[in-house]
Symmetry: D3
Subunit: 287 residues, 6 copies
Amino acid sequence: MFTHMSRLQFEAKPEKPDAHYARKLQELIGGAWGEMTVTMQYLFQGWNCRMEGKYKDLIMDVATEEIGHVEMLATMVARLLEGAPAETTADMVDKDPVVAAVIGGMDPQQAIVSGGGPTLADSNGVPWNGRYIVASGNLMADFRVNVAAEAQGRLQTARLYNMTDDPGVKDMLKFNLARDTVHQKQWLAAIEELKADGLEEEIAPSALFDEEDQTHNKTIWHLSDGKHGAEGRWASGPAPDAIHEFSYVQNPKPLGSKASAPKPDPLLYATTPENLGLIEKAIKKLT
Amino acid sequence: MFTHMSRLQFEAKPEKPDAHYARKLQELIGGAWGEMTVTMQYLFQGWNCRMEGKYKDLIMDVATEEIGHVEMLATMVARLLEGAPAETTADMVDKDPVVAAVIGGMDPQQAIVSGGGPTLADSNGVPWNGRYIVASGNLMADFRVNVAAEAQGRLQTARLYNMTDDPGVKDMLKFNLARDTVHQKQWLAAIEELKADGLEEEIAPSALFDEEDQTHNKTIWHLSDGKHGAEGRWASGPAPDAIHEFSYVQNPKPLGSKASAPKPDPLLYATTPENLGLIEKAIKKLT
Amino acid sequence: MFTHMSRLQFEAKPEKPDAHYARKLQELIGGAWGEMTVTMQYLFQGWNCRMEGKYKDLIMDVATEEIGHVEMLATMVARLLEGAPAETTADMVDKDPVVAAVIGGMDPQQAIVSGGGPTLADSNGVPWNGRYIVASGNLMADFRVNVAAEAQGRLQTARLYNMTDDPGVKDMLKFNLARDTVHQKQWLAAIEELKADGLEEEIAPSALFDEEDQTHNKTIWHLSDGKHGAEGRWASGPAPDAIHEFSYVQNPKPLGSKASAPKPDPLLYATTPENLGLIEKAIKKLT
Amino acid sequence: MFTHMSRLQFEAKPEKPDAHYARKLQELIGGAWGEMTVTMQYLFQGWNCRMEGKYKDLIMDVATEEIGHVEMLATMVARLLEGAPAETTADMVDKDPVVAAVIGGMDPQQAIVSGGGPTLADSNGVPWNGRYIVASGNLMADFRVNVAAEAQGRLQTARLYNMTDDPGVKDMLKFNLARDTVHQKQWLAAIEELKADGLEEEIAPSALFDEEDQTHNKTIWHLSDGKHGAEGRWASGPAPDAIHEFSYVQNPKPLGSKASAPKPDPLLYATTPENLGLIEKAIKKLT
Amino acid sequence: MFTHMSRLQFEAKPEKPDAHYARKLQELIGGAWGEMTVTMQYLFQGWNCRMEGKYKDLIMDVATEEIGHVEMLATMVARLLEGAPAETTADMVDKDPVVAAVIGGMDPQQAIVSGGGPTLADSNGVPWNGRYIVASGNLMADFRVNVAAEAQGRLQTARLYNMTDDPGVKDMLKFNLARDTVHQKQWLAAIEELKADGLEEEIAPSALFDEEDQTHNKTIWHLSDGKHGAEGRWASGPAPDAIHEFSYVQNPKPLGSKASAPKPDPLLYATTPENLGLIEKAIKKLT
Amino acid sequence: MFTHMSRLQFEAKPEKPDAHYARKLQELIGGAWGEMTVTMQYLFQGWNCRMEGKYKDLIMDVATEEIGHVEMLATMVARLLEGAPAETTADMVDKDPVVAAVIGGMDPQQAIVSGGGPTLADSNGVPWNGRYIVASGNLMADFRVNVAAEAQGRLQTARLYNMTDDPGVKDMLKFNLARDTVHQKQWLAAIEELKADGLEEEIAPSALFDEEDQTHNKTIWHLSDGKHGAEGRWASGPAPDAIHEFSYVQNPKPLGSKASAPKPDPLLYATTPENLGLIEKAIKKLT
């Protein structure tokens, strides 16, 4: 069960409204790597966690914090939209190119649908959806996604940080950058902890290593004509699992036979050699 | 530019058809973490790569391989659907519960839409979409996603491996498992290489560390009531960047003021205290 | 079966083209609360109606009208796009900021995809989809949605009304506002009629009142720290069903036990305490 | 800012697992009218609320409760999936029709993607998305949607209640039914309060009544051939706004002129009468 | 403007209910090539048509018919669902495998969401969306899509025809097959008419033939290793425009230079050679 | 299996960057009729092809070429975005309307998400999805779609050609136009070849002609009030199958009986006449 306090985790006050920027900030609310994604991803990981204790407690701590980040951004967007033009005419646009540009660059749904507030969508207005999250039950596989999400999130926040010089917005984004930094670190630390605890290994899932094809679990195939693919540490020397040696296959050949689909049921009406002649006869019969 | 050879990278021949399993395999074709995702993710990362040389060449090698994996799976699905019932009736269903179950568990679009072949959708029939991929231009942030994608992909492949005992399907999945293993290793190695080359650091992006809030980039906030969140290595001691010390805030308080949205433009018709009385008057005037 | 006459239900002639506004009007065509939604919602409610007579006949009357509203808006959008720039160059944009702004603010798909006509999408270009509608078979539950749809539709139309001063557009929107008004009234009246006819009650569905938890069907839980939640008529006194008394629970406690997920099948590879040590052993065996 | 306690708002323990039912319950998690929808809808309404005080506090109380409902359902789904078959083969399916049916009827992603847990999707596996919610800033328009959401939600819960006889599941659904009941009542009461406070009127938004077309804001048009549409209270007598009299137009005629789209820019290559002959000439020139 | 009569265009009465089949028929309602697609595609083509006269009138005739097809299918689905189990329990499923299979194979939303009626979705429950349609203003390009839509529609109808032996369903599908046949013929005839009228040519749009690259508008590139690609009439001899000669390029070489992306703005934090060393220095400064 | 060479199929170098145009070009990458669609459509058609030989080889040749077109466009977009403003402020927008317009008209995700590169989305930022493609197994039905796709693709390319005067962009588009031309011709030729080979007939699928309704497979129904629908060659004379004669039904009447849905299971809580009185009694019992 959750409770809410009406103060924000961190201040979210722009010095001045900025309708263009309000649209861009939508990316951090409802983008594939926005706060809505980490909120729901961590909540579902926590609820799907099969081990009581420190991992689950950490996940729920962070998940609960992230709902508060959606709240900060939603509040910021509403404030950035203060005074955005709601009554405009073709004439005004013709006369004042700056007004024209502002209106052209706004997210129309922030006005028409939300009445000057945020939507649950990204900076192109595409709605957030539940396929952006994952909660597989395997903590190693999921923490890999969590590191990635915090890295992409910090990257987008950093880009947005440079797209404004409003001190209030920058203050909030400094906080967000800091949280993305510590959350990246924390998931990296949690990955180390999983290994130190003997719960998972470097490669996820820690299973079926015996069964997987032992010839092809250490080779990189040279399938594009770049000449430098073999120069990295992925192409020779020990792999990160400290078990295998990488190798780079310079002239790979296909191992399978020709791709082909079997004859389908005739009632599915695929075009097949069996059709030959049959159709002509059928047509003749009709005419 | 690409070229194609008609032999498969690895064999994709089931011993027997299995229409139920053909539906499940769709997850590896068009699921959020399926082969279509890694194909398009790596292609767009390669095209968006801002450094010529070993990283770009590696990305393009692997991207090109992944198109071939979609091909293997598409071929396998068509073969698993061989002989799947295309002509069935309510009577047959009533009489034979196994037929009933098979039909009930099939993906209806594999028959009705694709005529006994795969769709570009997941195991619930939801179409693959372009928001599943990311290519940010920042190699550290993107390789984090790549590790995650290969981990989730290997996890799903491992689960699917246990859901069949067809030796032909298992053979192909062993190859897939191996490729997911080596690709996980390779992206982990590439992350190390980026750091060794002095191109990126542990935390992505390697930027704005000075500007981010220095108080809040090392603390975990205790916001759920689990008691064990402070026991992991993320709660104290050195962070993975070897610069900061983690700390765990046991009784965090909100730092911001009350969340509130500003007064909107009256022409957006939000409900505000200013409405008080006005509406009554307007209604009176009308009557 | 339907028939069509080529005259519009109401005139849809702008005085002048306005490409920016053509984009905004898309919200009323293909937005979540646009005319396409009410068209398909009412059609499916009519086809799914389980009572012959006045309710079904009303639904079909209004459904049929709404197709004509999509037609009016589609025609208006095409006319607003007359003369919109189809041949433009970077130079023109550099030289004339108004041209630049107009082009920047247009929906690019109205030109590239539709050749100067409407799309079946909203003002951000996101396609309309079938999940926007509901037709549950329960008339009370559905008429509640209908009132809501007409209210949101009238609200958006009112906002759009203020964003133009073209007399032709305003004329059409006056008609649309009027229809949204009467349709709101009509669904409110139909709700009253359902109750007067003894077919449904205030709360939908009129079922399982005996079975539902009798302790928790009248209480509001105080879970956010606002102090005024208990001041409304929802917090004490008779509920709208004239049966229960509302009450406001100031310090609610969770009634359930700890959230936890059971041990999963080991073949799903969730991280569990059982993994402890096993992985180390497996790795040793491999090396 | 939010905090979380690990006990559930209400117990969520099935007596026995039931993999089929776990799929159906997804509708209440990630369906268009599920708990995720009311959670995010109320949160965004609260953040977008332009009046401090009782309305905003109520909205935030209920929003915070709803996150806890998602938690209850997510927990229930994981428990219903305990022991669901993760290792199955075509042979087993052939031999045991009940196993076949269970596997056929399961949501494959609950196993393959979530490892025996819920997804953020509906009972057909379609992901939840942000267009399901609305927060317009106008409380009357939004409370109409809220009543509708609670009505549809209670209707779906009632249907699901009859699809199980597991006493643990039924206990939780009794609680859910009760909450849907009280939430319906509460939004109905809040609508009354808005009117009593003079903030809004029956018809939303309380604006532009003077400007809307005065002829067409009280008429129902007879456009389908049902004979009973004129028999309800929507067809004559006073409208719910107590201002207008309804009337029913038996033989409505279109008021507009012929629908037509203007001549487009020739560079958009629409087919127009101007093309006549031009193409033939162009082709001749080429040959 | 539209009017509706309550009789169906053709009878839609199954002899017996069949819940499995009700799910499959959804493909013809809300699938990418279902009746909803042709309805909205033709309506938008009609409204976007830039020539008054026979073409526009034909489009509107057929568009109006198609709404009636959605109606027939919606009615049929509701009737096929009559008596589908709404009260079922795990016990019943355990005891009767046929019941288990029927429930497993049903679309759960037809019961839970629609109360025994159709949804606006396809046979996998994915909602219909507005990107399935096109109305480009160019009649040749659009009639090509129309022929394709009627061909795919007839193909799916034919497949569904074999999946039932209910005489009532088959009767309706015979009518649907016939309509798909005549509509295919009609769009093919309309394409001929466009050419005969000198309005469009074989290749759409009839424009920019002079400007397009004259070397590459007649060659097929051999990029896959199949040996038979050069054997068809597309590889040599006159092209369908009667102007060009086809040719087949056996060993095509890329004509462009190396794919590469330019140096990005440093504030977008792409990984570039310029990063070399800089990061190390920055990190040192921090420690 | 595929291989890649790093040179582009054709040059993709703009003379100057143009951020607005970079957004528009997204339509050709990730739009419904863009290069991603033809790539995946042809690949899946090839893999689903049930006849070895010239048709399959042709499909795979063209599919492989199309991946290279996505590559050309992705490269072009990155180059058009060179130097696009990544550091902007509200002040700059206020002072320079051209900067304001450029920023307003850009796709924000190309900067925030992709770091100055393309996304896998259309010109409105809506992600590409797998339902845009079809691979039915029936070559006639699929080649009809292929002709349509190349026609819509050429039309959009032609429109985009007029929206730039950058010679580098125009050069690439001339190549694209040429390829769209030859691919249209080639699918038209392949349709002829299918008929010449006796594999398929004009109408797809070449099946069930005997079974379809013989009365309604040649008539056009006059359902809209346009007067010219009967003037085309689709209204009388021989149909393109050379078997039937078209006819035009001037006053069509519905052939079916009244649309109605059956009584549903009472546990689905539809509103039915049976509810009459029951609810009142239930309510009385409660009070």
